[in-house]
């Protein structure tokens, strides 16, 4: 056993013998996470033990034992990428699946308080019954919104109307790295309407832009911001869960569009107008290459070999999907008029309107709960994300163009999969000029050249970001030690300051950081 027997026994006393194991076969099932980095020694760790606390008090008791014996640990909610996995062989993984309650849904104040293993789908379903919606991420409805708002970036296709999850947490309950139970913000009075105060914002010390990915204590309750929702209250997926067979009744006040631009500058113009008019509930640019490679790889591979078809696909590579929801008939009419006008002004092809065929129904359903994306990227390890932070829309577009240039070079050199170069997952946040760009590359973890391409792409994108000053570090942080060393001296010594924050709150570094 990789942790002291005495420690194991003490933890067992806290959580019960049925909720701790060091069985190697079970531990192995918690080791299969690959995301953003190829290094097996970093990502494919078998934890020393698995612990499943059932309450905040048990979490606190466990963390105190870890402090006593200097045992490393990592919190794991529903799990998605390597950030939820053990980062060393002597690390205990804290599986929070027993803490799975929606503690409160406050319709009046648009707040839901959840435990770590509550899934996005559960919250969304409950919120819909109250005319509200939660900001779920593209990780899918099976993933934990608590993990997203407390510990990761939280990008999503609803960013235009709901922001990203780095800004979607109100108060929370947190077990500190020394095992204290801390009610952050107004949570101390068992109300969850604000994260900040009294005085300075302690919340911002423990949850920065990207979150610590389980390396800063353990969050046990979090208040999610909910948003107004005038859409459907449910939909069912029969049989084998194929979304395209979904029995979706989409209300008449919802419209779905695909807006296709051939030129970047036209897309940029449209995005500024969509932000100004605040018409979108969901919107995002999807790359036709990524979609094609992911959904129908064999067809896509053949299609790219035919020059005419290749050019035709290229013409449609800047494809933005838009869902609008009318709060009233007049609101819907106005939004439809705006979308049509914006498409016209930006030389776009606009397809869509009423959600009256299976494709549009599936798309809308998919955007609302991200079922489709979860099935598309059902195992982290199938794609990688590079580039920078959110900035002005036109800066994020420049990021996307540069990433495309880099990838086209790699495709031409036969270094990576051919997806026509553009992998931009691009959108707007908070009905404003703030853009969001993720430079996506599909990878195949079974192929060495694919993993190597991922790192090359990440590092080359980072270099462009640093030398051309295209916004902050953002997703470049996934590039590992090399990007940290590139950016730290030219980005306010952010890494040095991060280690200082970590050192003050978790001096023994028991909850390991992931992306370094």
């Amino acid at each position: 056993m990789l942790i002291p027997v005495e420690a194991y026994k003490e933890i067992e006393k806290i959580v019960g013998s049925e909720n701790i194991t060091a069985d190697e076969q079970i531990c192995d099932t918690y080791s299969q996470f690959l995301f953003h980095r190829p290094d097996p020694q970093v990502w494919w760790q078998r934890p020393a033990a698995i612990v499943m606390p059932g309450s905040t008090e048990e979490v606190a008791g466990f963390v105190k034992v870890c402090n006593k014996y200097k045992i490393k640990y990592k919190a794991h909610s529903t799990g998605y990428g390597a950030e939820n996995g053990a980062t060393a062989p002597d690390c205990v993984l804290v599986d929070l699946r027993r803490m799975n309650h929606i503690v409160q849904l406050d319709e009046k104040n648009m707040i839901a308080v959840v435990e770590p293993y509550v899934t996005g789908g559960e919250v969304e379903y409950m919120a819909w019954q109250h005319g509200l919606t939660a900001c779920l991420t593209t990780a899918g409805p099976q993933s934990s919104p608590l993990a997203s708002v407390t510990s990761h970036q939280g990008g999503n296709c609803a960013g235009c109307s709901m922001g990203y999850n780095g800004r979607n947490m109100l108060a929370c309950e947190w077990v500190s790295p020394d095992g204290e139970i801390v009610k952050v913000g107004s949570a101390e009075m068992d109300e969850y309407f604000t994260a900040d105060g009294p005085g300075p914002s302690f919340k911002a010390m423990i949850r920065g832009y990207f979150g610590f990915d389980g390396a800063m204590g353990i969050f046990t309750k979090a208040a999610l911001k909910l948003y107004h929702w005038a859409g459907m209250t449910d939909y069912k997926i029969p049989n084998d869960g194929n979304l395209y067979e979904a029995d979706v009744e989409i209300p008449d006040n919802i419209r779905f569009y695909t807006m296709i631009h051939n030129e970047w500058e036209d897309l940029e113009k449209a995005y500024y107008a969509l932000a100004e008019t605040e018409v979108c509930t969901y919107m995002n640019k999807f790359s036709i290459g990524i979609t094609g490679q992911a959904y129908m790889p064999e067809f896509f591979e053949q299609a790219l070999k035919l020059p005419h078809l290749r050019e035709a696909l290229k013409m449609a590579r800047h494809k933005t999907v838009i869902t609008i929801v009318g709060n009233s008939d007049r609101d819907l009419d106005y939004k439809v008029k705006c979308v049509e006008q914006i498409a016209k002004e930006s030389n776009a092809i606009l397809i869509g309107g009423k959600v009256d065929n299976p494709y549009r129904k599936a798309q809308v359903a998919s955007l609302c709960k991200y079922d489709g994306y979860a099935s598309l990227f059902n195992g982290p390890g199938s794609f990688h994300v590079a580039m920078g932070a959110d900035e002005a829309i036109h800066v994020n577009v420049k990021q996307a163009q540069e990433a495309q240039r880099i990838k086209e070079g790699m495709i031409a050199a036969g270094q990576c999969e051919d997806d026509l170069g553009c992998g931009a997952w691009l959108g707007i946040y908070e009905q404003s000029s703030r853009g969001h760009n993720e430079a996506v590359m599909l990878i195949d973890p079974r192929k060495e050249y694919s993993l190597s391409a991922m790192m090359t792409y990440s590092i080359e994108c980072s270099k462009v970001l640093a030398t051309q000053h295209l916004g902050g570090i953002g997703f470049a942080a996934f590039g590992g030690r090399e990007t940290v060393e590139t950016f730290d001296p030219i980005t306010s010594n952010y890494y040095e300051h991060t280690l200082k924050v970590k050192g003050l709150l978790d001096p023994d570094n028991l909850a390991n950081m992931t992306f370094v």
């Binding site: 500190s176 109300e191 604000t194 005085g199 703030r434």
Partner: protein, 489 residues
């Protein structure tokens, strides 16, 4: 040579900073202390004009262990006492001469301002670009934009307040220990000039990566770092506008209505006021307010570039439908109030030396907390009882409710001119509200200790936060002392 003399000598030699040491002038700097916090005459006031000078002043303060208090706004009035020194031998770093509007970005609706830029100054400049800055209710004309927003003073448009510290974004700051840091977009990579040249809007408030230190320093009352410049979100003025008024005697009904309106992103600036608040803020005479329902929800509607009239009328009609469902009525006019004036009040700052919270010669009680719209009724009833018990007329109590973060919470402010009963009333009202779960997210003055005694959870970590920014404790010593005193780390 005392520490302070050595400090000033070093600064003079190294930086050429403007330094005020004249006793008469120094005395004046604390002459308008409207708080009930004590203040001492500073040993000197220094006026930096560059980030480098602020950095040098704080590095030297650490070296010579000189306490420093920061002031950003013009003038010498202080409502909370935060910007006045409390410890003998303090130096005031006065940022009012760092007052450049560094950049206005029409496309991205952003402005970058130095710490001394005031609301009046910024809005005057923005107007030339068809823009305006959303600000606190009738903000003091001479108030620093950055100081107000760092203090988490709520601005008037809840639907644009997605999260703290909106509308504040990136910040260039100097920690108490003298280290320079950029929060959000201000971190780089590259200089501000390089980033602007590349087209950056500097509109990211969080980061880099694991950090969000700009937000940490909000509500810190100048005890952690000094913000030298920051980017702020601004809005388009629009091409047409309209006012909407909804009134009720029942704040529960009106508050719920406000929440429904704001969550649908209807209207722009929006506030809830009681009768006395309407009279004070909008200058209505008491004959008009006496005949009004007890509470008024006031909001503006604007139209922009795309189908402006249609957008505006749709918004208004949607508000009417929601009102009808709640048994309320929306009016486009209010008796005794000119709409242009109402719009100007919502969109504008106070006139110089005529701030709505201050009346010369009158000692005021001004208490505010952050809670939810559904407790306004309970708190208001309690507040009326307290002021009556203290021998004051409850009709004179101003209640101002500012929905925030899309109405998920709200700022609730109680203000009354209390003369010689001010101290007693403030203490009693503060205690009663605290006992009833008022969340004083920004603790000031006499209530500070009681607030930190009730909300203890974060005190464990407060010294760690202070140590991160300002290990020698030179920034604003004495302020938030109860908070910083409670830690165990």
């Amino acid at each position: 040579m005392s520490n302070i003399d050595a400090y000033l000598k070093a600064l003079c030699e190294d930086t050429g900073l403007e330094i005020e040491t004249d006793a008469k002038a120094l005395k004046k700097t604390i002459a308008k202390n409207y708080s009930r916090s004590e203040a001492v005459v500073p040993a000197a006031v220094i006026y930096p004009v560059t980030v480098e000078q602020v950095e040098a002043a704080l590095k030297a303060a650490n070296e010579y262990e000189v306490p420093v208090t920061v002031r950003s706004s013009a003038g010498n009035a202080s409502l909370t006492g935060t910007s006045l020194p409390w410890k003998e031998g303090s130096v005031v770093i006065n940022l009012s001469k760092m007052n450049k509007i560094m950049h206005i970005d029409e496309l991205n609706c952003m402005a970058i301002v130095e710490a001394g830029v005031t609301f009046e100054q910024l809005n005057k400049e923005l107007k030339k670009h068809g823009l305006y800055m959303e600000h606190p209710l009738q903000a003091k004309a001479e108030k620093s934009v950055i100081a107000a927003l760092l203090d988490r003073d709520p601005v008037l448009t809840a639907k644009h307040l997605w999260d703290v510290p909106d509308p504040l974004c990136a910040m260039k700051m100097v920690f108490g220990n003298g280290r320079l840091f950029g929060s959000g977009s201000a971190a780089g990579p590259g200089t501000l000039e390089e980033m602007l040249e590349a087209g950056c809007a500097m509109n990211q408030s969080q980061g880099p990566v694991w950090l969000d230190l700009g937000r940490v320093m909000t509500g810190a009352q100048g005890t952690l770092a000094i913000c030298c410049w920051a980017s702020v979100k601004v809005k388009k003025i629009g091409t047409c506008k309209k006012m909407a008024y909804v009134q009720s005697d029942d704040i529960n009904v009106l508050g719920a209505y406000a929440s429904q309106v704001i969550r649908r992103r209807l209207g722009e600036e929006a506030v809830l006021l009681n009768r006395k608040g309407m009279s004070r803020i909008f200058g209505l005479d008491e004959k008009n307010t006496d005949e009004m329902p007890k509470w008024t929800y006031i909001t503006s509607v604007r139209g922009y570039n795309y189908f402006p009239e249609e957008y505006m009328e749709n918004q208004y009609a949607d508000m009417e439908d929601l009102a009808a469902a709640a048994g309320l009525t929306v009016s486009a006019e209010l008796t005794g109030l000119d709409n242009e004036k109402a719009f100007a009040v919502l969109a504008g700052t106070s006139k110089k030396n005529d701030f709505w919270k201050l009346r010369e010669g009158n000692d005021i009680v001004d208490l505010f907390c952050l809670n939810t719209l559904d407790v306004v009724d309970k708190f208001s009833v309690l507040a009326e009882k307290v002021v009556e018990k203290c021998g004051l007329d409850p009709k004179e109590l101003i209640v101002y409710v500012q929905p925030s973060q899309m109405a998920r919470n709200c700022h609730i402010e109680f203000l009354i001119e209390a003369g010689d009963k001010a101290a007693e009333t403030e203490k009693l009202l503060g205690t009663v509200l605290l006992d009833n779960n008022a969340f004083f997210s920004r603790p000031y003055g006499v209530m500070e200790e009681a607030i930190y005694n009730k909300y203890k959870a974060q005190r464990h970590f407060m010294p760690a936060i202070k140590a991160f920014f300002d290990e020698k404790g030179i920034l604003n010593p004495g302020k938030l002392a109860s908070g910083y005193a409670g830690g165990a780390l």
